[in-house]
C-alpha cells in the first residue's frame, strides 16, 4: 500500500566490511578535512578500538586533533556543550564518532552547537529546526543497534529536565558511515542482545507506523531478515565475524528505515524508561516491543502479520490478526532466547524499574514525540497499562 505522501532521504556514504576503518583518512580528504575530533567513550577506548582508528591515520596527512573519551552512556547537554568548546579550541574541522549511539549523538549535538554559533544545545531544540550547515561527520558504530550513523536523529539527555530530548533534522546525517566488523567484536553478549533488540524495534516500528512507505519497507524487512540470521549467533559467539557484520548491517538498514518512517509507541515508552529510570535504550525497547505490537494489533493486523515470515516463522495463511499473533510470539521467543544466552531482561522489574515509578514514567512517555507516529493513540492510562503488563 502506498501512503498518500512520503519523504525519503539518506545522503550517507556507506563503507561496510573488512578494514573499512582504514578508509577514514581518505574520506576526510574527500570531504576537505584535515583534523578530526574523535568522539568516543572510555569503554571503547579501553577495548583498544581507538587504536585501530589511530593506526588508520599513521600514513596519512589527515590528523587526529583530539580524542574526547568522556561520553557517558546517556550523553547530556552538559557534555555536548563541553565537546563543542573543545572542538573550537582544538581547531578541528570534522567529527569522527567512534562508539554507540551516545558517542554519535554527542558528536551530532556538539555539531549543532558549533554550526549554529550557539553556546547551549537547549536553545536549539526542535524538529527540523536547524538551518546552518554542519561540520562533516564520519560515524563508526561499535554497537549494532542505534543506527545513528545513518539517521537524522540525535537523542540527548537533558540534565535539568531529567528527560531525553530528540533532535531531528536532515542536517544531522553523517557524511560517511563506516561499518567494520572489528569494531563490534568486543561487545559483551548482553549488550549485543540489547542493541540487537533496539535494531529490531527500529525495523518493526518503521514497518508498522503511520509514515511507513515502500522504500523504508525494503530496508526494514532486510534488517529483520539479517537480525533473524545473526542476532542469536552474534550473542552466542562474539568472535563470529560474519554475524557481527550481519548485525552491523542490520542496524544500519533499520536506521535508514526509521530515519524516514520514524518510530512509535515502543520508543516513546523506552525513552521515558531511560529518562526516568536510566534503563538502557535497547533493553527498554526489547521489553516493550511485544506489548506494543500486541496493543497495535487490532489497528494494523496485516502489517504485523507480514513480518512473521521475515522473522523466520512459517507463513500459515491464517487470518491477519492470528498471523500477527504469530509475529508477537516470535518476538517474545527471541527475547526469551536472548535472556537465556545473555541475561537480557525481559521484564521492567528485572531492568531496575520499581513499580512505584511507573506513573512517573507514563507521564514522561506521553510527552515523548515518538508516539505521534504510532497508529494508535498513546494516552497516560494506556501507557501506564502497558508498563504494568511489562513490569
Amino acid at each position: 500500500m502506498l501512503p498518500n505522501y512520503y519523504q525519503f532521504y539518506c545522503p550517507v556514504k556507506i563503507l561496510s566490511g573488512q578494514t573499512a576503518v582504514s578508509n577514514i583518512p581518505f574520506e576526510m580528504s574527500v570531504l576537505g578535512c584535515k583534523k578530526a575530533m574523535v568522539v568516543t567513550d572510555k569503554g571503547v577506548a579501553g577495548a583498544g578500538l581507538i587504536d585501530i582508528v589511530k593506526d588508520a591515520f599513521a600514513d596519512s596527512d589527515a590528523k587526529i586533533g583530539y580524542i574526547f573519551d568522556e561520553t557517558p552512556p546517556d550523553s547530556s547537554n552538559r557534555i555536548v556543550n563541553k565537546l563543542a568548546q573543545l572542538f573550537s579550541k582544538q581547531d578541528c574541522d570534522c567529527f569522527v564518532a567512534v562508539g554507540g549511539g551516545s558517542s554519535m549523538d554527542t558528536a551530532k549535538g556538539a555539531n549543532i552547537v558549533i554550526s549554529e554559533g550557539s553556546d547551549d544545545l537547549l536553545k536549539l531544540q526542535g524538529v527540523e529546526n536547524i538551518t546552518a550547515d554542519l561540520k562533516p561527520m564520519i560515524a563508526v558504530p561499535t554497537t549494532a543497534g542505534t543506527g545513528s550513523e545513518v539517521t537524522k536523529a540525535a537523542v540527548i539527555y537533558n540534565e535539568e529536565a531529567n528527560a531525553k530530548m530528540a533532535f531531528m533534522s536532515d542536517k544531522l546525517y553523517a557524511e560517511v558511515a563506516v561499518i567494520d566488523p572489528r569494531m563490534t567484536m568486543t561487545m559483551p553478549p548482553k549488550i549485543t542482545a540489547a542493541t540487537g533488540m533496539d535494531a529490531l524495534t527500529h525495523a518493526m516500528e518503521a514497518y508498522t507506523c503511520l509514515q511507513k512507505n515502500p522504500i523504508d519497507d525494503v530496508f526494514a524487512k532486510a534488517a529483520i531478515d539479517l537480525i533473524r540470521h545473526y542476532l542469536v549467533r552474534a550473542t552466542q559467539d562474539g568472535k563470529d565475524e560474519e554475524a557481527r557484520l550481519g548485525m552491523a548491517n542490520a542496524a544500519l538498514m533499520a536506521g535508514i528505515a526509521f530515519s524516514n518512517s520514524m518510530v512509535g509507541a515502543v520508543h516513546a515508552l523506552a525513552h521515558a524508561c531511560g529518562g526516568v529510570c536510566h534503563v538502557p535504550h535497547g533493553v527498554a525497547n526489547g521489553i516493550m516491543l511485544p506489548w506494543v505490537l500486541d496493543f497495535n494489533l487490532d489497528m494494523i493486523p496485516e502489517y504485523i502479520a507480514e513480518l512473521s515470515g521475515v522473522l523466520g516463522g512459517s507463513i500459515e495463511y491464517l487470518e491477519p490478526a492470528d498471523q500477527a499473533q504469530v509475529t508477537v510470539s516470535q518476538v517474545r521467543n527471541l527475547l526469551e532466547r536472548l535472556n537465556k544466552i545473555s541475561g537480557l531482561p525481559t521484564r521492567l522489574r528485572d531492568a531496575g524499574v520499581s513499580e512505584d515509578m511507573l506513573p512517573k514514567i507514563a507521564e514522561a512517555a506521553v510527552n515523548d514525540g515518538a508516539h505521534v507516529y504510532n497508529p494508535k493513540e498513546l494516552t497516560y492510562d494506556i501507557a501506564l497499562g502497558l508498563y504494568k503488563k511489562a513490569f
Partner: protein, 188 residues
C-alpha cells in the same frame, strides 16, 4: 479525477494572476482559521475542566505559536494562571512554535482534511523549542479541536475519536455561541 473537474480546474488556473490569487485566498483562510483557533483556546480553557487539568502542569508564562512558513499567518498564545490567553497575530517571542512548511499543508489540517498527527508524520510541520512542551501543546490543541470541529469530522482528525457526553455537548454549543463574538473581539 473526473474529466469535467479537471477541465474546470484548468479553466480556473487560466485566470490571470491565478498563483497570486490562490495563495492570497489560502492565506486569508488560514488567517481566519488561526484567529478562530486562538479565540477557541481562550473559551475552551475557560469552560472545559479537562483543559484546565491538561495545562495545570505547564510553566507559568509559557508562550506558544502556531503558524505557516515562510510569511505567516501566525498566532501566539500564553499560559497565565489556569488560563490560556490569545495574544494576537504574529510571532510574539514564543517558547515553542508549531509551523507548517507551506500554506497547502496548513489548509489540509485547518479544513479538517488531515489530522495534525498525520501532518507531523508526513513532515509537514516543524517544531521550534522543547519537544515535550510541543507534545503538551498538541494535546491541548486536540482538546480545543474537540470543541471547535463538528463531531462528524472526528474520525478524520483523531486517532481515537472522543465521544462527547451530554454535558460536553452543551459546553460545545456554548463555545459555538460565544466563538463569533470572541473572534470579532480579536479582529478589532
Amino acid at each position: 479525477m473526473d474529466f469535467s473537474v479537471q477541465k474546470g480546474l484548468a479553466l480556473i488556473r487560466g485566470i490571470p494572476n491565478y498563483p497570486v490569487i490562490q495563495s492570497k485566498v489560502k492565506y486569508i483562510l488560514l488567517d481566519t482559521s488561526l484567529n478562530a483557533l486562538g479565540a477557541a483556546f481562550e473559551l475552551v480553557t475557560k469552560m472545559v475542566p479537562e483543559m484546565k487539568a491538561e495545562i495545570a502542569g505547564w510553566n507559568e508564562g509559557r508562550k506558544f505559536a502556531v503558524g505557516v512558513l515562510p510569511k505567516g499567518p501566525y498566532i501566539t498564545l500564553e499560559k497565565r494562571g489556569d488560563m490560556i490567553f490569545y495574544l494576537g497575530k504574529g510571532l510574539l517571542s514564543p517558547e515553542i512554535s508549531l509551523l507548517f512548511k507551506n500554506l497547502d499543508s496548513g489548509v489540509l489540517v485547518f479544513t479538517g482534511m488531515m489530522s495534525s498527527h498525520q501532518a507531523v508524520a508526513e513532515c509537514r510541520v516543524i517544531i521550534k523549542g522543547n519537544n515535550a512542551y510541543a507534545m503538551e501543546v498538541t494535546r491541548a490543541m486536540a482538546i480545543v479541536q474537540t470543541y471547535l470541529f463538528p463531531s462528524i469530522m472526528f474520525k478524520k482528525i483523531f486517532k481515537d475519536p472522543p465521544k462527547l457526553s451530554l454535558a460536553q455537548m452543551i459546553t460545545k454549543a456554548k463555545v459555538y455561541t460565544l466563538l463569533l463574538p470572541a473572534i470579532v473581539k480579536h479582529m478589532i
